[in-house]
Structures are given as C-alpha cells and as structure tokens.
C-alpha cells in the first residue's frame, strides 16, 4: 500500500507533465508548420550568413 501511495501520485504527475508540455507546444505554435519542421533539420546553420532566428 505504501508503494501505491508513492507510485500513484508519481504516475499521475508525470502524465500531467506530458499533457502540460503538449499544451505548451500547441500554444507556442509548434504544430503550425509540420512540413517546415521536417525540412529544417536538413539546413546547415553554420554556413556564413546563417539564418537569423
């Protein structure tokens, strides 16, 4: 029973953290441009005159 008392809140908190992270990403517009995100990984940032963020 003591393990349950520890594990239950732990599991729920972790789940809630995941959910909160998802909502944060949604609000920050990270799902706005999925194609662009997939392509961006291929761009070399270290070239001279790199893209400003």
């Amino acid at each position: 029973m003591t393990s349950v008392a520890l594990l239950l809140p732990l599991a729920l908190t972790m789940g809630l953290c995941g959910l909160a992270a998802f909502f944060w990403a949604l609000k920050r517009g990270q799902f706005e441009d999925l194609d662009g995100a997939a392509a961006r990984i291929l761009i070399e940032d270290d070239e001279e005159g790199g893209v400003e963020r």
């Binding site: 729920l12 789940g15 909502f23 949604l26 441009d33 893209v51």
Partner: protein
C-alpha cells in the same frame, strides 16, 4: 508576409530565409513551408518590392499576401487538445482499471474507482465536446448522425460509472468510455488533417495567379494594384504573358490574346486599338495599355462564378457513407439496448442489473470501429494520391469518384497541355551549339514561347551558352552576341500559319521553331485505362469544331464542340438524368460551372483559380494518368471502407449477444474495442501499398 508558391524543400526554405535575412534592415525571416509563405520582420526602410526583388534574385517568384487570402483556421488544431486530454486520461484510468481487474479489493478498489472518476469526468466533459455539440445540433434539427449514439452511450456510461463509484459497486466503465472518445477523436483528427493538407496545397496554387494589374497614372507613374482596387477608367499596362485583371478596351498597342480560359478556344485572336478585352484573357505577344471598362462583379468572370455557385448546391445534398450507415445503425443499437433492458426486467432482474446490461450493450456497440472505418481509409488513400501528385479536397470526393461511370473531358489544358510547346522535331533538328544559344536567349525572356522553349531545351539536357549584350524588344524578340556573332530569337519576318519563332545566328542558316498545343503525355494510355475501368469518356469543349475534331481523331473519343459554360452544365445534367454518375475534368473558367455540377471533378494544377476551386481533385503532374489513378484509388478506398464496415459488423454480431446476456465485463469491452479498432486501422493501411492500375487495351 510574402507568398512563395515554388518553395517545396529544405533547400528552397534555406535559400529563401538566407536571401531575405541578408538584406539590410530585415531583422528576421521565417518560412512556413506548409502554407508556402515567409514572414518577414523588417525596419521602416525596407519596402515590400525590395523583398520581392531579393527573392526574385534568388530565383523565387513571390507576392505579398492580401489580408483576405489568409488561410482559414485549421480544423485539426481544435481537435488536438481534446485528443491529448482523452489520450492522457484513457492511459491513466486504464492503469487503475488493470489493477482492479487483476484483483484489487476493498479499500484499494474504492480508491482506484474514485481516482478514475476524478480523472475521467472532467476529461470526458472536455474531450467529448466535439461530439456533444454536433449531436445537439443534429437533434435540434430533428435529425440523427453518428454523434447521437456516441453521445448517448458516453453520457449513460459515465452516469452509471459515477453511480457505481458512489455506491461502492464492482464494475466501472470509465476506461472504455475514454478509450472510445480517444479512438473517435483520432478518426476525426485524421479526417480534418486530410482536408487541411489538401486545402493548403490548393491555396498555394490559388495564390500563384496574381490578381492585379500595373496601373499607369496620369503623370506616367506606374503602380501595382490588386484586382479589387481597380476602377473603370483606369489604364492598366498588360505585359506579354500576363492575364487581364478586368474587362477593358485597348488604347495603345497591338497584340494577340488567348481567351482559352474563358471560352476554351485555343487560337489566340489578334487585337488592336479599340478592341474589347475580357478579364482572364492572356496577352501573348506585346505589352498593351488597356482602359478598364468593368471590374469585379460586373465582369464576365463574375457571371461565370455565379453560375458555379448555383451548380454547387446539387453536390452538397450528397450524404456521406458514414452518415448513411449510422442512420441505419443508431436506431438498431438503441432498440437492442432497450430490448435487453426490458427483457431483463421481464425476466425478474432488478432495475440496476437491467440498466447495467443495457449500458454494456450501448458501450460494446458504440461505433468505435465505425468511426475509424471511413476516415482512416480515406486519409491513407489521400496520402497515396498526394504522393502521386493528386490533391484530394475532402473524403466525400473519394466516395463520389468511386461511383463514376461516365467522364467528360475538356480539351484545352486538360487533354492537352494548354500552352504552346515547341515542335519536338524542330528541337531535335537543332545542332548542339545552336540549341545552347537558343536556350541562352530563351532564358532571358518571360515571353510564354521563350519559357516553353527554355523548358524543352533544358529538359533535353542542353546548357545555356554564355551570351553578351542581351537585349529584349517587347513584341519582337531577344537578341545578343555569341562569340562575336549577332544572334536573335524573334518572330518570323513573314506571318506563319501557326505560332512560330525564328532563331538566327550571323553567317549561318536560320531555324524556324513551330509551337503548338499538344496532347498530355500518356493521354492515350490514360483513356484506355478509363475504358478498362468501365468509364466511357468523351470530349466536351468550348473550342471551335475544327480544333476539337483534330483532338477527337487523335484520341478516338466522341466530341462536342463550341459548348458554352451553360451548355456544359446542361450536358452533365442530361447524363445525370439518364442515371449516369459523371466525372468532369476541366481547367478553364468556362468549365468551372460544369466542374461544380458534376458528381466528381478533377482539374489540372495549371487550371484557372475558379476551376481549381470547383474541382474535388487537383492533379499537379503533367501526365493524364492521374485520372485513372484517382479513380482506381477511390474505388479501392471504398472497397476497404466496405470491408471495414463488414469487420465492425462481424465484431458486433459476436459481441452484442454476449452483452445482451450480461456476460460483458469492462475488461472484455476494453479488449474488444481496441482489437476491432486496430483491425480496422490495419486493414485501411493496406491502401498505402502501391495501386494496381488496370492494363489498358494495347494501342
């Protein structure tokens, strides 16, 4: 905010961002690849034309985005948050349910039930809103849809589970209810994702055509105005290769005008001072100044748009297959649940036990697999088509296309490429060094013939020869010097019967290059395949009978020529009255009413704005094979949808009797629900396999 329609890969993205960020005064440039646009933050010193020029130097055509062109809000985003909540709650509640199933007793079970209720009730209230809202709307109009049985099932199951929790009962159904919501939301989100994706693609195409004109003021200054800001009396300068943004009369200059967008007629007509022009015509040869006579709602364009809007009514009456099934399904399920409730009461069971059985029936029959059956199959089919260069506007288009048995094809731009292309024999006859000179000259002009020639030569593997002293005389041609020799690509001295360019090099013979509109590649194979699919095709064109007869002979199809937009619409109505389901393939504005009236419609990516908007499918490949491919995929997706329905029905045949006998526990319900959903998804994924095209009759 600039639109850059040609951007489609990481390389383009990087180039666009870098070339804009390199400008002084630009603080940031961020591309949205899905919407094909770039957002630029800049200081006051930077103007929009500077940005457009910077992009043009990097090789990308762009235009500022008008406010009214802002993309509609995504349908998926509204579903993402409920989906995440349902997923989170389903997982956590399932965690506790598993411990209850594996034998938690007494106080532990009580605790787990209370925790489940604490998580599930708010989660269901939040994640179920899309269904509750839709069901309420349907009931208010005294109709029923898929959401009504879902809502009733979810609400009853939640209510019963709360009651069980409070009264220390043995079984609660929170896990099954949440899982149901999660699966259904996943189906909805997929459906919405498909529509979003297609719309983004079509929007990007739509914005490519610049609706506006260069207006010359009284002081001689030129200013680019959007089409809606034009007013009668203004003078617009229309460059060669540009479309007219409004009706008007020529006041300066002589040129030829392609009116195929309006009438389907392929031969450009000459026009000189005093000639009346219509919005949508393409200026072929030389720049002209045009005094605007009519704009906006009073143009010929707008009249055709009104016809189109009226035609769209017919199609909106189509009832999607999922709704047709649920019309049969919902009353059946509710009757069964009610029957088991009454049956158990009659057999002497208590209220509580009878209600538990009835709710078990409702939960087990909840159309979980049904909710996934259609969207998953259609999303996979749309993805397959997208990879093949065909955009699908929405799922119902696939359902309608699958039933088509008659096809009407427009000629210019649909069966043919819709633009003049150089004669392949003339290209092949050019010596290599001459071809390189021709390519060098052609790339320096924006004239339609030059662009077509440049495209053909580049495709043949030639590189442009280095030229100097390049000069373009509008309406005449391009000239330059090559290795000290004068070279030119210009209109021939004597008038030729068809569109022709003359290539001259000092001290050498001259070459004539003829241009003509040509059949799309694979047109013959595509038509043979359509025939093999049981679809009879014929030509329905607005062009003159001579030009249509030539194409009809080449393709072996029956043809109707000189059809006005209204006549095209009537031809479709006639076939529909005979019981045919008609597929219309067309591109021009004159086809748009017919595209909207047909049971299903497809337009090439080069089509007019109106054509692309009216069509269900837009294919961006050059090959006409897109037509049979779309039909084959649509029919396959419908086959899979029917299989999915059969799977779901079989599952119900087994599960419902068990539920009615009171043998179903929450554990069985959860397992059965996930198993049937996974089966349906797996079956739908088979659509992702490459399609088998029917073999056409050998020609």
């Amino acid at each position: 905010m600039l639109l850059v329609p040609a951007m489609h890969c990481a390389g383009c993205l990087g180039t666009v961002e870098r070339s804009l960020a390199a400008l002084a005064g630009v603080s940031s440039a961020r591309v949205n690849l899905t919407a094909r646009q770039v957002e630029v933050r800049h200081g006051g010193a930077v103007t929009v034309p500077m940005l457009v020029d910077a992009l043009a130097a990097a090789g990308f055509a762009s235009q500022p985005r008008g406010e009214d062109l802002a993309p509609a809000p995504s349908a998926v985003r509204a579903l993402l948050a409920p989906l995440a909540v349902a997923g989170f709650a389903a997982m956590n509640v399932m965690l506790m349910s598993v411990s209850v199933w594996s034998g938690a007793e007494g106080a532990t079970r009580e605790l787990f039930h209370w925790l489940s209720a604490l998580i599930a009730v708010p989660a269901i209230a939040y994640a179920g809103r899309p269904f509750f809202g839709s069901a309420a709307r349907a009931l208010r109009h005294a109709r029923s849809n898929m959401d009504v049985p879902i809502t009733i099932g979810v609400l009853l199951a939640t209510g019963l589970s709360c009651y069980e929790t409070v009264t220390h009962g043995r079984d609660v159904w929170f896990d099954g209810t949440l899982m149901l919501l999660f699966f259904l939301l996943a189906g909805r989100a997929l459906d919405a994702a498909m529509r979003d994706r297609a719309r983004a693609g079509v929007d990007a195409l739509l914005r490519e055509a610049a609706p506006g004109a260069l207006v010359i003021g009284r002081d001689g200054g030129a200013q680019w105005l959007a089409a809606r800001d034009l007013a009668p009396g203004m003078v617009m300068r229309v460059a060669a290769g540009e479309r007219l943004a409004a009706d008007g009369t020529i006041i300066v200059g002589t040129s030829r005008f392609d009116r195929s967008l309006l009438t389907g007629e392929s031969t450009p007509l000459p026009g000189t001072v005093g000639e009346a022009l219509l919005a949508g015509m393409l200026n072929c040869d030389a720049p002209v100044d045009v005094r605007v006579t009519a704009v906006g709602q009073s143009t010929t364009l707008a009249e055709i748009a009104a016809l189109m809007a009226a035609a769209g009514q017919h199609r909106s009456r189509y009832v999607r297959i999922a709704d047709r099934v649920s019309r049969l399904y919902a009353p059946l399920v509710h009757t069964l649940a009610l029957a088991s409730f009454l049956g158990w009461l009659a057999l002497g069971a208590g209220w509580h036990q009878a209600l538990v059985v009835a709710i078990a029936v409702l939960i087990i029959t909840c159309p979980c697999a049904l909710g996934l059956a259609v969207p998953v199959a259609q999303v996979v089919a749309a993805g397959t088509l997208l990879r093949g260069g065909i955009l699908v506007k929405d799922g119902s288009a696939l359902e309608r296309l699958a039933r088509v048995d008659r096809a009407l094809l427009d000629k210019t731009g649909t069966l043919t490429m819709g633009r003049p292309l150089p004669d392949p024999a003339a290209i092949a006859a050019l010596p290599a060094d001459v071809a390189q000179v021709a390519l060098g000259l052609a790339t320096h002009s924006r004239h339609p013939l030059c662009r077509a020639l440049a495209g053909a030569l580049a495709a043949a593997g030639y590189r442009a020869a280095p030229l100097s002293d390049l000069r373009e005389v509008p309406g005449h041609g391009v000239s330059a010097r090559w290795q000290g020799l004068a070279v030119a690509l210009r209109r021939p001295d004597q008038p030729e019967p068809r569109l022709t360019s003359l290539l001259t090099i000092e001290q050498r013979e001259a070459w004539l290059i003829g241009f003509a509109d040509r059949l799309r590649p694979d047109a013959g194979d595509a038509l043979a395949m359509l025939r093999a699919l049981g679809i009879e095709a014929s030509i329905l064109s607005g062009d003159g009978s001579g030009a249509v007869a030539a194409i009809a002979r080449l393709t072996g199809l029956a043809a109707e020529a000189e059809a006005s937009p209204v006549a095209k619409q009537q031809a479709i109505a006639r076939l529909q009255a005979e019981g045919h389901r008609v597929l219309m393939a067309g591109d021009g504005l004159n086809d748009a009413p017919a595209l909207a009236a047909a049971d299903a419609s497809i337009a090439p990516g080069t089509a007019s704005d109106a054509g692309r908007q009216a069509a269900d499918f837009v294919f961006v490949t050059e090959s006409l094979l897109a037509l049979p491919r779309a039909v084959v995929t649509a029919r396959r997706s419908m086959r899979i949808v029917r299989q999915n329905f059969t799977l779901a029905a079989t599952y119900n045949l087994v599960a419902v009797p068990l539920a009615m006998l009171g043998l179903v526990t929450p554990l069985i319900a959860a397992v059965a629900m996930s198993a049937s959903s996974l089966l349906v998804v797996a079956n739908s994924l088979r659509l992702g396999l490459p399609p088998r095209l029917p073999r056409g009759a050998p020609r």
